[in-house]
Amino acid sequence: MDNGQNGSNGVASPVCNVAPIPEAEIAAICAAHGNDQHRMLDILREVQDRYRCIAPSTMDMIAAETGLTRIEVEGVASFYSFLSLTPKGRITIRFCDDIVDRYCGLKDVVEAFEDVLGIKTGETSPDGEFSLEYTPCIGMCDQAPAVMINDVIVTGLTVETAQSTAEALKQGTSPEQLVSDRFKDLTPHERALRMVENNIRHAGEVLLGPVPEDAGLNKAAAMTPTQIITAVEESGLRGCGGAGFTTGRKWRFAASERAEKHYVICNADEGEPGTFKDRVLLTERPHLLIEGMTIAARAVGARHGILYLRGEYVYLRELLEQVLEERRRRNLLGKAILGIKNFDFDIRLQLGAGAYICGEEGALISSCEGLPGEPKTRPPFPVNRGYLGYPTVVNNVETFCHAARILDKGAKWFHDMGTEGSHGTKLFSVCGDCLNPGIYELPYGHSVWELLEMVGGGDAAAVQVGGPSGTMIARDSFHRKLTFDDLATGGAIIVFNGERNILEIVEYYMSFFVHESCGYCTPCRVGNVFLQKAIHKFRKGLANPEDVDYLKDLSATIIETSRCGLGMTSPNPILTTLQNFPLVYSVVTKPNKDRIRDTFDIQSAIDGARKIAKRRSYIFDKDFTQ
């Protein structure tokens, strides 16, 4: 702990230029989490919140307290984008840099903040007060442009409100005061609603209509685990996070696995750009979600659950903690739930720290274990060996909510809704160029046209179904149905009108995947960079017809050889637009007559040498003699 000693002598580390951090405080933070290495993310989040960075000396201290090596701690600290090895401002402002936000005037909002605060995005002010940075989609696309100011969300910004917000912060207003002067007096639910609109446009029968309290759990309590699983199986419920695995089967696999412990994990890490349905469920139906998790726990025999909340939704933390606390008080969580012997189940809230990849099942489990959010090798599947090696059910927020309703109303009721193979209702989060962005709960089977009519997006030229990893369709495909078998989606529907540049959207999505690739496997880490560069070439008008083949070949390689779902779907923006918008590509592609690459720019390549040699090129500068 030599570094810690040096720190207290007043020799601040060159990287983290803040006051020396007393070892006792770090030790206290670690102790509050039981010095448990699996709670590393919580420990680091707390250190980050308190000291605005994770200094090298603190990493040594944390390593010592938790019995890890320094490099293991640093591995976690450097993985998550909300953790920082260099000091951040006291107030960190993160602009949601989604394509929808860009189309809603993000640039002007950013400039307004930069002007008032006197720093550029990516910088921290010299007095350590403010940091400005970009972050991918924070799940507020229906009220873009949006920013995170520490843990507070501000949505629907204009140049004027951005200016006044920045001015207020500069004059010492706290982020909480921006929401309300009586922030402290508001309930967590009121606070959430003050910050973020729900925008529920259409409530369906299952989730957003009237929901009786704990009716499902009460019925499940009277059933055996096998009966519960059978009911969920018969309902035809499939996972709502995007992949669509049959929920009942997942539960059955986990239940049949003999093990000392089982775990139930709720995936509330909806990072797919354009998806924000879980945000609304977490705000409006938190009890239903916990009810569903409790039912799943009974079905598979789990005593422990984890609710993994994405770091961007930290503003919902208090609300969820309050719900958990209330349910513990009412004996709906904890020991002998509803007075039933051996029905013990409790949930801890795990907060993420800004990593899209953690929405992937394996990466999410890694993250819960206090590791960098890297996917795990499959098999074994989480239902066989998941969290800490125990059988684990990981389901999406919406899936758990559906399960609770199925137990209440019966499998047949749910099975009768929707279409064959896609039963029940689905939450669609619609955003982009439409009149009524927001949440629509609809039975499966509506066509894209029908949905567009509802949302007021009649002049749509393109619709991105399922976010960047989904499918981009053109008007000639709007008759297609929103089902698992036709257009599968985790809920994201992004509408683009005819003025939007498809290639700009594709390039943005590729840069998103480049940013969010965890870097573990080469095809995804490197391949996506190549794809992004290739698309850039198209946008510059430098592409040849053979570059289309290159895009297809490289995409196929990435899909075939990547380790997890990120790489298996990241070429989709390119592949689906190549298929559905071929003209967009062909119009910017021209055959190369002399087979010399237009992309190689000799002038920029020799520019550096020209300056060093202080002379012109005798080959490529026509006015060489001058």
Partner: protein, 189 residues
């Protein structure tokens, strides 16, 4: 065989060590067989500095580290029907491309030249200057593989490629029988 009109080939060594050209000589006595199939136009082997007519095959050793390399390569592309990148430098940049690893510097080229001519530990350069004769071609910002500058039709791997793979590939290309490399030929361990 003798009824076939002879093909014209040309070769050039760009940012390479000339090792690949030496490897061409490793074809040994089969060179006689090869010469029955081809005439050699522009090439260091003939010491012809310019194309005398259009060629069927151009063989390039080395990547592009300076403007003259680019000029020659573009000239080859314009004058050859089929262009072959021979050896690792032509294909990937090879050893010269090590200077591409000077990243995270505001002036990587300057840093490279300084180390090579002034500050390097084993340098004896009494002038303490970077050579800057007007006849010297300007360096590129980094070393480029040939395929980034022009379209390349075939790549023969190796450092240097064996005489066997060069002979085998050329004769098969000339007789239209090339279907890819034999696995043993591109196994290097």
């Amino acid at each position: 065989m003798s009824e076939l009109p002879k093909a014209r080939i040309a070769t050039a060594s760009l940012a390479g060590c000339f090792g690949c050209h030496m490897a061409i000589l490793d074809i040994d006595e089969r060179l006689i067989e090869l010469m029955k199939l081809v005439d050699v136009d522009r090439s260091p082997l003939t010491d012809k500095k310019r194309f005398t007519e259009r060629c069927d095959i151009g063989i390039i050793e080395g990547g592009c580290c300076n403007e003259e390399n680019v000029h020659v390569l573009q000239d080859f592309r314009r004058n050859c029907d089929v262009l072959i990148a021979l050896g690792q430098c032509a294909i990937m940049g090879g050893l010269p491309a090590m200077r591409n690893a000077i990243m995270h510097s505001d002036a990587p080229l300057r840093e490279c030249l300084d180390e090579a001519y002034i500050t390097g530990r084993y340098i004896r350069n009494t002038t303490h200057n970077v050579p800057n004769d007007p006849a010297l071609p300007l360096l590129l910002d980094e070393v480029y593989p040939c395929s980034q500058v022009v379209e390349i039709d075939y790549q023969i791997p190796g450092c240097a490629p064996s005489g066997d793979i060069i002979f085998d590939t050329l004769t098969k290309l000339l007789t239209g029988k090339f279907r890819g490399f034999e696995p043993e030929m591109i196994k290097f361990d």
